[in-house]
Amino acid sequence: MMTAMNNVGRPTRLVAGTGAVAETFTGNKALMLEEPLLFERGSLDTSGVDLPPVPPVPDRLGGLGRDAVIGLPGFSEPEAVRHYTRLSRQNYAIDLGIFPLGSCTMKHNPRLNEKMARLPGFADIHPLQPQSTVQGALELIDVLADWLMKLTGMPAVAMSPKAGAHGELCGMVAIRAALDAKNDPRRVVLVPESAHGTNPATAAFCGFTVENIPANDRGRVDLDAMLARLGPDVAAVMITNPNTCGLFEPDLKRISDAVHAVGGYVYCDGANFNAIVGRVRPGDLGVDAMHINLHKTFSTPHGGGGPGSGPVVLSAALAPFAPIPFVRKTAKGLELVEEDTAGTHANQSFGRMVAFHGQMGMFVRALSYMMSHGADGLRQVAEDAVLNANYILASLKDLYTAPFAASGPCMHEALFSDDFLDGTGLSTLDLAKALIDEGFHPMTVYFPLVVHGAMLVEPTETESKANLDQLIGAMRHVATQMLADPDAWRTGPHFAPRRRLDETLAARKPVLGYKDEAA
């Protein structure tokens, strides 16, 4: 009998007289199905892949054959399909509903993009094939690069970075290389205190010293503090625009000019480009480098944590230092500039960032999305994204604390704090968990760090007004009830596949892999 018991959760019992729903024999609840680990369900002798027989030739492994059991259980195909389908149903996803994570730009992922990325001409080619056999792939990279340069108003782009933070690294290494080329020893990088954590982490990685610049009471970089700190030791300013409070930095051009005047460079974190695509070109604001998260603005799927893609547009000052490889037009066709031709065409390149040429699969998806929208549609994307965020701000600011609402409209995301819950003992976390029970993915919580109990709501342009109204209704309901009866709201979520998870326990005694019971 024990083998039929649910071996995932601890079997629990109905407490008599509480009216609570009884635990079932299996631990399942109708369509909510528990699923054991692969290591509890699969077997070492099972395989879901049929392969031709191994030809009987003596091995040539030099006596280094692997004899010991590895410990990798297998599934038959139906078992595998069911395992992953059951697990998938424990996830929230954009395909299920609004996913308003601020700064993450969770927009609809068009299925045409998936279909195009799977064309064998893009998916089934090797990065080291002779270049004459991959001219179409090089063309795709070249066309995408052209779109990115035109949309940003910048003269160059490095395509190979693998994600946003990797793009930041590319931009900051380019700045470091440009300084080194001039034997310029400046090493200070100024970062607004509201920046993404990747900004200071990246600057430190490149050997820079990070100094924070405070925000003003309107949620923007304190212009006076920034200008006062500029000097001959400042290598660069890293600034996010629109910033992580969801606000446009109106002084960016002035800051850029001032940074350039003291011999520094301007790095713009392009994570929030979705708010301005087609309406503002960062090149017009004096930016020297900006990464573009193709998995945000250009709709490539987040996949539960990647893969991303982070091309970096560069100013004329930084372009000579761009990484190899890159695509170059020649009379004979397109050429990938690699190690052998770098001396001729890229003698100041800082080198390689990745083994091959970047995230081709994401490039195809992003170009498919750009071509679908076109220049006119992308402009509409920014307008609808900003409209949706302001609609949320306007519909909640009487109830939720909106620290910067008085300073005017927001861009693509609306920022709230949990100050309105003061005295209830409840916080942003409780509110987020309550929204889970209402069937939503919560907004970004506790970021940016400059706002207490921050809640950053980014609806994106792919939500209908009806969806926004439902989210607004739920957020108003939850907040109102929390103020009226705080004690009822301390233990959510109640209806998710798991109740609140103990993150402290996980960190104190890390269990990072499955251990067989015999071990």
Partner: protein, 455 residues
Amino acid sequence: MRYLPLSTADRTAMLATIGAASVDDLFQDVPAEAVLDGPIAGLPNHASEMAVERALVKMAGKNLTASTTPFFVGCGAYKHHVPATVDMVIQRGEFLTAYTPYQPEIAQGTLQVLFEFQTQVARLTGMEVANASMYDGSTAMTEAVFMARRITRKSKCIVSAGVHPHYTSVLKTLTRFTGDVVEAGTPVFTPGAPGDDLASLIASIDAETSCVVVQNPNLFGHVADLTPLADACHKAGALLIVVVTEIVSLGAIKSPGEMGADIVVGEGQSLGAGLLFGGPYLGLFACREKHVRQAPGRLCGETVDASGKRGFVLTLSTREQHIRREKATSNICTNSGLIALAFSAHLSLLGEKGLRHLAALNHARAVQLADRLGRMPGVTLLNGPFFNEFTLDLGREARPVVRKLAEKGVLGGVSLGRLWPGAKSLQTGMIVAVTETATDEDFDAYEDALDEVMA
């Protein structure tokens, strides 16, 4: 516009709620000199699904695809058959369109997959723990070198000449600024052990050495026993970092963990991903449990929920950039979650039995082709022990040979001249990879084409 649900009436109503006269009012913070009046010039306007598909199909059609041709290209990316189920799994919208699992109660699907993935990678590499993935093998290797510096507080890194040169380039790009000293040589064609420099690596280890980085099988396909190197590292207080670019090899070859590795990094593309012209791929990262707090990247751990049920969360995040900012162990944020899912699904379909079969098949087929090509006049097989990849000395410059083979519709391998353009002694070398996907007809076509090109 098929991706935009708002109607004109919606927009009007919403502007009224906001109290704005037009959408332009919402962009009031943009300085006048940066305002664009209309769509950006030089780019086309929106297009139908049919039109986009037509344009992209045309571009894709200009490429020679691996599955339509005799194909023997490797060097860090391998053509393996990926079961149809894998693509079905990663196209489940609940996996495809989810974010990083920051709200674990509604992300148990992704988290359980990551927990299973970490366990699979740890077992495959023979290590105690693995992280939830990096961008690719080359960036994982660079992160490993920085981790070794943090652990040993020393900064000299010795890189074997048998490591993929692109990986070494990526490392050198960043170490220019970090103060790490990288020593890396040019490989030599030692008969029977091309690129094997274990003896000189051991001789180079000194008190300043933080780590030695070695690839197994190495770029030339050579397989070595790393145990003596591990012993030498540990005697000097240095760490051994082992790079595996063909992860299927671990179904046949003793794992790096069994040979004494401290950190194992790899490229996981062989399982689940496909060739994809170089990305997105999957960086694998495994280490010893005692070092895990110095590891880069996300980690998934087991815990319980408020009712005592087992569940999974991202953990030990105090190492990461969103908490530690400039003191983080790495700046990595987004990684390769969906490719980790593809890897894990492919490996769970194979299971131990299937993986061992697949590895044995790759090896046996490679031995068959190596012997056939090695018997051709003017061609010398350089390898002794190898897995599914070997190096031929063609006795003449290999780059034109590879190009002429391609003109005949055979993708025969990678010339060493493309990877080491400056190294004269290597220009006659060609690396050939053989997987389960190559047929006897492909072998015949390869031999015939090479015969013609070499004639």
